[in-house]
Amino acid sequence: MKKIRWGIIAGVCLVFVFYLTVGIVAGWMILDRIEAETTGHASLFQEGWQIALFVADVVFAAAMIGSAAMAIRNKVLAARGKVCAEVAK
């Protein structure tokens, strides 16, 4: 079976998390600025697209954390395997 590159997946997810977070914050700031014209305040979940961005952000963040964990786990296992192999030698 082909080895899954968890580190790369985590990195790609990190990129998306970064842009999605920036998008959420920037979108909220723009909406808040518009609302401020009538002395209102925008919420982070005011519009459908804000919710969609947030959900995507959460999904990518979870994927990133999971992938990173898998990558670290594999590294640890690999390191242990190496040690075991050396010990076995």
């Binding site: 590159r5 990195g11 990129v15 970064f18 002395t39 005011q46």
Partner: protein, 1041 residues
């Protein structure tokens, strides 16, 4: 090679990162282009530069300030001092003393005072209401309330008490807004709806902390109470969802429990001898319900309005007696806010039954297509209702004594039980006597004269109020005309009269005031035969009593005075004028333009509109109060295909067969290429305008009309890109009306909030209001602002209107007089106004798209009156179309309103601009814009560069193209006669300088391209090289073998 291979994942991720960044930067540029106006507004950028080659010998400062430094630059500090000075004067003259038992006010010099209420703190006082019209003041620009009272050494204020409020009230939610659902989620009906809270502190906490100090500062307890109002936030609670927030009576305009506790404690402390008197100061823009307030033993009450930066100084002036209050109410103060018939149909109403076929309810795009509001009360708004019903109770007519609409009456309906203070009421530190009332006809004007004598001990002013009563005839009953028993038709204010001093005042009443709109009979203004009465009084009720006395009625018939005690009127202050014959012709054409006056709003009257054939409506009528008083709100169902079709955002353009495509980008003048300034001395219809308009390109035209988010876009001349450019300057536009929002004079570095509309109207002093708005105009000049989105002239249809604080009154005549004064003040300094919101935009919930229904008489006599006066008399140069629908048609797309009435009947030569038009809403879409520009809307308060929104689908449509050309004409004509032309002469070139952020963006794009390319190349190499060298290595290994 190993390193390259190891870096491959990192390079791949970086390549992805920068590739996305690159896409964002390029897509972002499109967004920036579309929103350049908004960005410039936010960043304070004017992208147009004026380059003038002349030697400066010609004075090109067409509109001047009164304040300059020696070097010729504006003296901002002196200008601001002037603004503060006139504001303080207007504040003092507008505040209304509601009651003053045993001369509790003015406060004796040397008094030791205790200030109560979170509103006593600078951070919580409402200098203005809320919304786009709000100006956030810099509180360090003026002394706080305590220091204001102590600075002259006349009073000492309880500092521990004041500090306690300062410490605990820092986070008080005095006027906090929140969406209404109890769980904190958005209100599902209208996400813009907001509810108000009052953060008054609990008496128990206050008393335990600083109660021991009261006795030492017991000369007077002064309690400050505030109530806000907000764009998008009516002061009405949706009782189906609101969380009450401690308000007794479930009414924001009544007291909260903490306020009740405070008043209870203060009046008890007075009984106990701790305080000598209790004074209440109301910081509100709309009348509070008096039902509970009046149950407390409060010695004096001052309505202080929302006075902007000068609030505290003026409160000091009035409470100390330096200024004798002469303000009079411009709204009726009642015990129960819901006793007005309009409140039955105030709120959030959605069509009943099947709504299939309506445009989707795009609430996030500000398109509420399922909402409606019905003005079932007709003309009976404010005092027109209370006073007319009162007269009918006295005369025993119209079932006026029935219980319909009664809220506080013991038996049936009683004026004394419902009305606390009538329109025009206000007390003074002195007293006045009236004498020598006379009315003399002079052509089409009646000169009403009366002598006013100050019979008290201190100097004071008072307004002279003149009211008209028209006859309620049999014809009226048959045709559905309504007549109020009293209408304000004129006023003036005395000079400051010393004790014993008299002044004879003359008020001119236009005979045209006698006309009435006949919606269902002659469908025009008519003059009916019958007995008319002109009367003066200290308020509307007093004047009506004088009329009733002239008609032979007395206290025995149930007459009561303005405070509810049995009273006779004085017939010597009323004059009967008999019109001997009906005249249905005289006013059927406009006296301003000779344009025919006829029904223009049949599509907004449920009785007339063909799409509602199966519905009928009973408007409130004095012929039968019991039978016509709305028992509940009007339930409206959609019952025809026509209705559904008319509710669509666009319904199709009727092509003008004579319209031809205009010339674009062509120099046709015999003088060669023209610049806008060259037409300065020419009239609107001068032929040279055609030449100038021929020079406009399509791009110029649609951007001038379609992109106006806090600007009127300039039209530059550039030999290469716009060789026929007309050098029209960019106009900076800002929100109003409380002050010049978001743009301040350089050396002052703070904003000036002027007294709010209601407070100014309460001065009953047009000259003073014009002085205030002249100062406003200078603030605009100094700040470089050419256009203001104000002022606001909406009628206070009910006390719950969120923007009541911005506008003036429940009365159209009063609103018109004050609006005229403001328009003259601003335009005198070269400002462009946007009198708003035109029209029938009198509540905030669902304001974006709600279908508004009213009959023609009430539309014209109540809601259009102020605008008509401002256009006909003050020649207002700008109108803002409102966001609601008139009937089914968006106001900005209503031909009857914007072309037939505004331009045809009134002769308007200015520009009509939308309210903030969401680009995808019924007000912003391309098809709606095409129909709206034909209807007479010229300019869009919106930012867009989308071709389809800028009439891109109509480039070959001569009807739309000609309408756009005419709108461009109107906009340019207004700009030409504004302060935006200051500094421009015939040598001036207007040059567009691309804002700095484009350069930044382009540099970022370049950098992103390079970095992306490098990283991508490295990534590719990391893929390719190891493979190539790997193969080579393998092959050499093989060859060695």
């Amino acid at each position: 090679m190993k390193i390259l291979k190891a870096l491959r994942p990192v390079l791949g991720i970086l390549a992805l990162f920068f590739a996305i960044l690159l896409v964002i930067l390029f897509v972002g540029e499109k967004y920036v282009e579309e929103n350049e106006g908004n960005l410039n507004y936010a960043l304070g950028i004017n992208p147009y530069e004026q380059i003038t080659d002349s030697d400066g010998s010609v004075d090109t400062e067409y509109f001047k300030s009164d304040f300059y430094k020696d070097d010729g630059s504006y003296d901002d500090v002196a200008m601001r001092n002037h603004s503060m000075e006139v504001s303080r004067e207007a504040n003092g003259e507008g505040m209304v003393l509601l009651w003053n038992e045993n001369d509790a006010l003015p406060l004796a010099e040397g008094s030791k005072l205790s200030f109560f209420g979170v509103s006593s703190q600078s951070a919580n006082w409402l200098y203005t209401g809320a919304g786009s019209g709000k100006v956030t003041v810099t509180t360090s620009d003026f002394l706080n309330l305590k220091d204001t009272f102590e600075v002259e050494g006349k009073y000492t204020v309880n500092s521990r008490l004041y500090s306690w409020y300062g410490n605990v009230a820092a986070n008080a939610i005095l006027s906090g807004l929140s969406h209404a659902n109890a769980d904190g989620s958005n209100y599902t009906k209208d996400p813009h709806y907001r509810e108000f809270r009052v953060g008054e502190k609990a008496w128990a906490d206050l008393n335990s902390a600083v109660g021991s100090t009261f006795a030492s500062y017991g000369d007077a307890a002064v309690f400050f109470i505030s109530r806000n109002g907000n764009e998008d936030g009516d002061t009405w609670f949706d009782t189906s969802v609101n969380t009450n927030s401690g308000h007794i009576e479930n009414n924001y305009l009544d007291l909260t429990q903490n306020e009740v506790d405070t008043l209870t404690a203060l009046t008890q402390l007075k009984k106990d001898g701790v305080f000598k008197k209790v004074v209440l100061v109301l910081n509100t823009g709309t009348p509070m319900a008096m039902k509970n307030i009046k149950t407390y033993d409060i010695d004096a009450c001052l309505w202080a309005g929302m006075g902007g930066n000068a609030s505290f100084g003026a409160i000091y002036d009035v409470l100390s007696g330096a200024v004798n209050p002469s303000g009079k109410l411009v709204d009726t103060y009642v015990y129960d806010s819901d006793s007005a018939p309009s409140t039955v149909n105030t709120g959030a109403f959605e069509f009943y039954g099947d709504t299939d076929g309506l445009p989707a309810d795009e609430r996030s795009n500000n398109s509420y297509n399922h909402a409606y509001i019905v003005y079932q009360e007709g003309i009976y708004v404010g005092y027109r209702y209370y006073e007319t019903r009162y007269e009918d109770t006295v005369m025993g007519s119209g079932n006026a004594n029935s219980s319909a609409g009664a809220k506080c009456s013991q038996n049936g309906w009683s004026y004394a039980d419902e009305v606390c203070y009538p329109f025009g009421y206000g007390e003074s530190y002195t007293s006045f006597a009236y004498s020598d009332f006379n009315v003399r006809a002079e052509g089409d004007v009646y000169d009403v004269t009366v002598t006013v004598t100050n019979t008290g001990d201190v100097a004071g002013k008072t307004p002279v109020q003149v009211y008209l009563q028209k006859p309620y005839t049999e014809y009226d009953r048959q045709t559905g005309i309504e007549k109020a028993s009293a209408e304000l038709v004129g006023f003036t204010k005395t000079k400051l009269l010393g004790p014993g001093e008299s002044q004879t005042c003359t008020v001119q009443v236009d005979a045209e005031s006698f006309k009435t709109y006949d919606s269902y009979g002659k469908k025009t203004y008519i003059l009916e035969k019958g007995d008319y009465y002109l009367a003066v009084g200290t308020d509307v009720h007093d004047a009506l009593n004088n009329i009733l006395a002239a008609k032979g009625y007395s206290a025995e018939d149930g007459m009561v005075d303005s405070l509810g005690s049995p009273a006779d009127g004085d017939k010597s202050f009323a004059r009967r004028i008999t019109v001997s014959r009906d005249d249905f012709e005289k006013y059927s054409v406009s006296s301003a333009t000779n344009y025919p006056v006829t029904n223009r709003f049949d599509d907004a009257d449920i009785k007339y509109y063909e799409g509602l054939d199966n519905l009928d409506i009973t408007y409130l009528s004095r012929s039968d109060w019991q039978g016509t008083y709305p028992e509940t709100f009007y339930k409206m169902t959609l019952d025809s295909d026509k209705f559904i079709a008319d509710m669509q955002y666009a319904t199709g353009i009727e092509a003008d067969p004579e319209a031809e495509m205009p010339l674009y980008g062509t120099v046709t003048s015999e003088f060669g290429r023209l610049s806008l300034i060259q037409l300065k001395d020419l009239g609107y219809d001068a032929p040279m305008w055609d030449d100038l308009l021929n020079q406009l390109t399509w791009y110029d035209t649609v951007h001038l009309c379609g992109v106006g988010s806090h600007e009127i876009t300039g039209i530059a001349y550039d030999e290469a890109t716009n060789p026929t450019g007309i050098n029209s300057p960019h106009v900076v536009a800002h929100d109003g009306p409380a002050g010049v929002k978001n743009s301040k004079p350089e050396d002052v570095n703070s904003y000036m909030a002027f007294p709010n509309g209601v407070l100014l109207a309460s001065t009953w002093n047009e000259e003073l209001v014009e002085k205030v708005y002249d100062a406003f105009g200078m603030e605009m000049l100094h700040a470089g602002v050419g256009e203001i989105y104000g002022t606001c002239a909406g009628i206070h249809r009910s006390v719950y209107g969120g923007r009541n604080w911005e506008s003036f009154s429940e009365d159209g005549y009063m609103s018109g007089r004050i609006l005229c004064a403001e328009v003259k003040g601003i335009q005198g300094r070269g400002g462009i106004v946007n009198i708003k919101h035109f029209v029938l935009n009198d509540q905030e919930i669902y304001r974006c798209g709600t279908a508004t229904w009213a009959n023609e008489q009430s539309i014209r006599e109540i809601y259009l009156k102020a605008y008509e006066d401002a256009v006909v008399e003050a020649e207002a140069n700008g109108v803002m179309s409102s966001l609601n629908r008139i009937g089914t048609t968006w106001a900005g797309r209503h031909y009857g309103l914007l072309t037939e009435v505004l331009r045809g009947e009134w002769g308007f030569e200015g520009l009509v601009e939308t309210d903030a038009a969401n680009r995808y809403s019924y007000a912003g879409r391309g098809d709606a814009r095409a129909e709206a520009v034909i209807a007479g809307n010229d300019l869009w308060l919106a930012g867009t560069d989308e071709e389809s929104l800028l009439w891109g689908d109509y480039t070959d449509d001569p009807t739309v193209a000609q309408a756009l050309r005419e709108s461009a004409h109107r906009i340019l004509y207004v700009v030409l006669h504004s302060s935006a032309m200051n500094g421009i002469d015939s040598s001036t070139r207007i040059v567009y300088i691309q804002p700095w952020y484009y350069d930044t963006l382009h540099k970022a794009q370049t950098a992103a391209i390079i970095v992306t390319a490098v990283v991508a190349a490295a990534f590719v190499l990391s893929l390719v090289l190891p493979a190539v060298f790997g193969r080579k290595g393998k092959s050499s290994e093989s060859s060695v073998q």
